[in-house]
Amino acid sequence: MVLPYLVYRKCQMLGQPPREWPWRTLVGMDEKLYMGKYIYLAMWPNGQQDSGAIEVMTDTSLIFRPGVR
């Protein structure tokens, strides 16, 4: 799941709980993202989770792997 960084900071500022944030779910291989800075939250079937900030500045693929990103 990703969220534009500005929206993330706005939600934080308003004190909204993370489950209510307008996350965008990326599930397919062809999901497109605009250029910019995002907050991501990745979850795997084994229950592992990872989160952080990413910057999409070029037209390249993003692959999320447990503990790798």
């Binding site: 534009p4 960084y5 500005l6 993330y8 900071r9 706005k10 993202l33 605009y34 910019g36 800075k37």
Partner: protein
């Protein structure tokens, strides 16, 4: 055989074009041409067509209303056009630098606004400025600035761009007419 007004105007236009080609291609070459295409206004697309149309209208105006003016009157107008041309150029550069940003990767310039959305104001400073906030907003200007202020910036840049070319056409057009008139007078004096 005496020329009619339209034929005379076509010759003025031809002289104007040849001078334009000389400025772009002759003196500074490709560097100037590249600079001119790179600093065009961010809106609308195809502004070069609009610029050419404006120049043509200005030349028609100059030819129709100023052709019969005395040399002194024409020279005064030429000086005034030069003053407006130079001030318009620097005003345009100021607005271009202050109210546009280069889009990452392409370097294409996009218009900013000047009124930040109320709910974003506290975040812009915290994130380190407008450009950082834009990056966090997927580079969607309308998220950061009020849409009407973005439109106003676009229109101002377009106006200043056309203002510059209007005065350039006035300056060169007047110059061409003065020179053509001198040539005609010279020819008559020899006959």
């Amino acid at each position: 055989m005496a020329k009619n007004g339209l034929e005379e105007f076509k010759e003025v236009l031809r002289d104007f074009r040849s001078l334009g080609a000389y400025i772009i291609g002759g003196t500074a070459g490709a560097t100037l041409a590249l600079a001119l295409t790179n600093f065009g206004p961010p809106w609308p697309n195809g502004v070069s067509g609009l610029t050419s149309l404006t120049e043509l209208l200005v030349l028609v105006f100059v030819f129709h209303f100023w052709y019969e003016k005395t040399s002194d009157q024409m020279s005064r107008r030429m000086k005034l056009a030069l003053v407006f041309l130079v001030t318009g150029f620097f005003l345009y550069l100021y607005f271009l630098d202050t109210y546009t940003f280069p889009f990452p990767n392409t370097g294409e310039r996009w218009a900013k606004g000047f009124f930040i959305q109320d709910d974003i104001k506290p975040l812009v400073q915290e994130l380190g400025g407008e450009l950082e906030a834009l990056k966090g907003a997927e580079y969607k200007q309308e998220v950061i600035w009020k849409p009407w202020s973005i439109t106003l910036v676009r229109l101002t840049l377009l106006f200043l761009w056309l203002w510059f070319f209007t005065n350039l056409a006035m300056f060169v057009g007047t110059f061409v007419i003065i020179q053509r008139r001198r040539k005609t007078k010279g020819r008559r004096a020899f006959q």
